[in-house]
Amino acid sequence: MRSSDRPASLSRRALPAVALAGLSGFILTQLDRPASNAIGTRTTGIKHGVTPTTANGSGANGPGQQLGTTIPATPACSGATVTGPAVDTRWGPVQVTAILRADGAPCSADAPVTPSDRNRSIEINQQAVPMIDQEIPAQGVNFDSISGATVTSDGYRQSLQALLDGQRG
């Protein structure tokens, strides 16, 4: 028995673990910065597909085909709904419909056709598309890509650009 050794104290033994837990908590709060334009940040009350629509489609929901479009039409934004071409992305087609202002800029848009082969795509697009839709009135075709949904963002942009080009041409 080593009488010279006093038994170790709880505080000394627990210190590394407490420090580790504290550090973890701190790192967690520092890391946890969901980007405002990242999918999964449910900051807006947007609900995809509940607003009254000016253009409508119905029927079976086949990948890359159905135009179940729900473009928000407001007094400030009304007019004919224009449909852009389906753009093939690596995950599948993206097709945009939009209502244009008199000057030709989109004042409301949506992508009723998005890649749906993979569950992951559906999950991403269910969140990302409404976020892009929301950016359109202010930013038009040069909207900020959605972090985590860059492929959909690019497809959306291409389809919208082609739509606008078609209207101009």
Binding site: R13, V18, D32, R33, P34, N119, V151
Partner: protein
């Protein structure tokens, strides 16, 4: 032949009959061990009703509810659709595997009584270790595949890593959880683990709970199988609640109950320069159950020691008069426990272990004890049935470490058995393996027909196990508790 071994009678065997006149440290003939005979033996804890098939069924159900759900959602087909879907499938599968291994691992150290009674606490810890390693590997795959999967979105690896480590909701928790699991795993590797004191390591290990908690939300928000499938999500949540319930019922409640109903140190006897027997007694004993060969977790209720528990084997068959433990001062804790004054309160949690007299099953026995590992062997020998003809192979480093030798000899002789000893530092025996097949057969000619019960340091256990298997003892007839700490 071991250089420091005492004079031998047979040239071929390392093991010898101890000289009756050899000075022994437990020379106090009036040792209180016979006192227990005045008290009723504690009744054994009931056997577990759990069957191997029950465990198999539970695991099958668990896998169905998790990996099965993943497959049902198209996880398998993802592997045939190219790199990106394969990365998705792999991320999901490895994530489920890691969580499942973690959950079952935590459920095991909750020490569910029925499982402990069927397999033994040491076996639970062995499985816990395997599951921990599995979890760490699966988590590594999960993180790598997750980053690859995210990068397939086209944002590039730098941006993807930023996304999955915090820009995506709840992923900061997952990142911290993964880092903690990595730390907990690394500190449990034997080479690193040795550098910490047991308690420092143990408290670090507890941060794994924190890791499980902070990584949970990303599983049900981002985990494809649980985010979209309501039934799967609730089954998953229920699984977690079940594990928490197991922790509360089997892990925390017994500890609290032990603290609420402590025993007192009734006596302490020094039996060698660094070895004591300590007897704990109290009214609570009457409601306790235990068997020879089992062990308890002792928690001295003293201001500077209450936060530690240490496992100690019963050193004598348990009786209502007291629980006797033989304690060798090997570290701070055992020294502190051995020096507890009479009347000190000690919380006693248990019993644990399945190395009980039942393992003999009416057959002849060979006991192998190393050093203070004699404690549970002595307890078992006090509960021997006729016809067991026990042979005890008692290995020790020094002569004074051969404790209780007189009593052991008479216990063995009473059942037609004998005691053989081997003394000397292992190094001096290097060119003669005392647990080799030849030595064992020399010492105990009919050893192959016997049931072996062992207790001692890990190296001795593994050496003896190898020797026993070499002489033809079935693996099923070798019983021992692995020292897991």
């Amino acid at each position: 032949m071991g250089g420091l071994a005492p004079v031998t009678t047979t040239a071929s065997s390392a093991w010898q009959t101890p000289d009756a006149t050899q000075p022994q440290n437990d020379g106090r003939r009036k040792r209180p061990s016979t006192k227990h005979n005045a008290h009723a033996a504690l009744s054994p804890a009931p056997r577990s009703q759990l069957l191997h098939s029950d465990i198999a069924a539970m695991l099958a159900a668990l896998l169905t509810c998790t990996v099965g759900v993943w497959a049902w959602h198209g996880g398998v087909s993802g592997f045939s659709k190219g790199w990106a879907p394969a990365a998705t499938s792999l991320t999901q599968l490895s994530g489920i595997a890691a969580s499942l291994a973690g959950l079952v691992g935590v459920a095991l150290v909750a020490r569910p009584k029925s499982v402990e009674r069927a397999y033994g606490l040491d076996q639970l810890f062995v499985w816990h270790r395997y599951l921990g390693e599995t979890m760490a590997i699966a988590l590594g795959i999960h993180v790598a595949a997750g980053i690859v999967e995210w990068a397939q979105g086209g944002a590039g690896y730098a941006s993807s890593i930023a996304d999955v480590t915090g820009r995506q909701p709840y992923m900061a928790g997952a990142t911290v959880g993964a880092a903690l699991v990595a730390i907990v795993t690394l500190t449990s590797l034997r080479s690193i683990r040795r550098r910490f004191s047991y308690e420092t390591w143990y408290f670090l290990h507890l941060t794994a709970y924190f890791a499980l908690v902070v990584s949970f939300s990303h599983e049900i928000v981002s985990g494809g199988d649980f985010a979209r499938d309501t039934v799967a999500r609730w089954v998953w949540i229920a699984l977690h609640l079940g594990v928490i319930a197991a922790l509360v019922c089997s892990r925390f409640t017994p500890s609290i109950r032990a603290v609420m109903r402590p025993l007192r140190v009734r006596s302490v006897h020094r039996i060698a320069d660094d070895t004591c027997t300590i007897v704990l007694a109290g009214n609570e004993l009457k409601s306790m159950r235990a068997e020879a060969g089992q062990f308890f977790m002792l928690r001295p209720l003293r201001r500077d020691l209450w936060w530690q528990t240490h496992p100690f084997s019963l050193g004598a068959a348990p009786a209502t008069g007291g629980l006797e433990f033989s304690i060798k001062a090997r570290g701070d804790a055992s020294a502190a426990i051995a020096s507890l004054p009479k009347g000190s309160l000690v919380a006693v949690e248990g019993p644990f272990g399945i190395c009980t007299p039942e393992v003999a099953a009416g057959r002849k026995l060979v006991f192998i004890a190393g050093g203070i590992g004699i404690a549970p062997i002595r307890a078992l020998m006090q509960r021997l049935e006729a016809g067991t003809e026990p042979v005890l192979l008692y290995r020790a480093r020094r002569d004074v470490d051969l404790v209780h030798l007189d009593e052991l000899r008479s216990l063995a002789a009473a059942n037609g058995g004998r005691v053989l000893t081997l003394v000397g530092p292992s190094a001096s025996l290097a060119n003669h393996d005392p647990f080799g097949a030849a030595s064992l057969r020399d010492a105990v000619p009919d050893i192959a027909e016997r049931v072996a019960v062992m207790c001692g340091p890990e190296r001795m256990l593994f050496a003896a196990r190898r020797g026993l298997i070499d002489v033809g003892v079935s693996n099923l007839d070798i019983h021992y508790e692995r020292p897991w700490w």
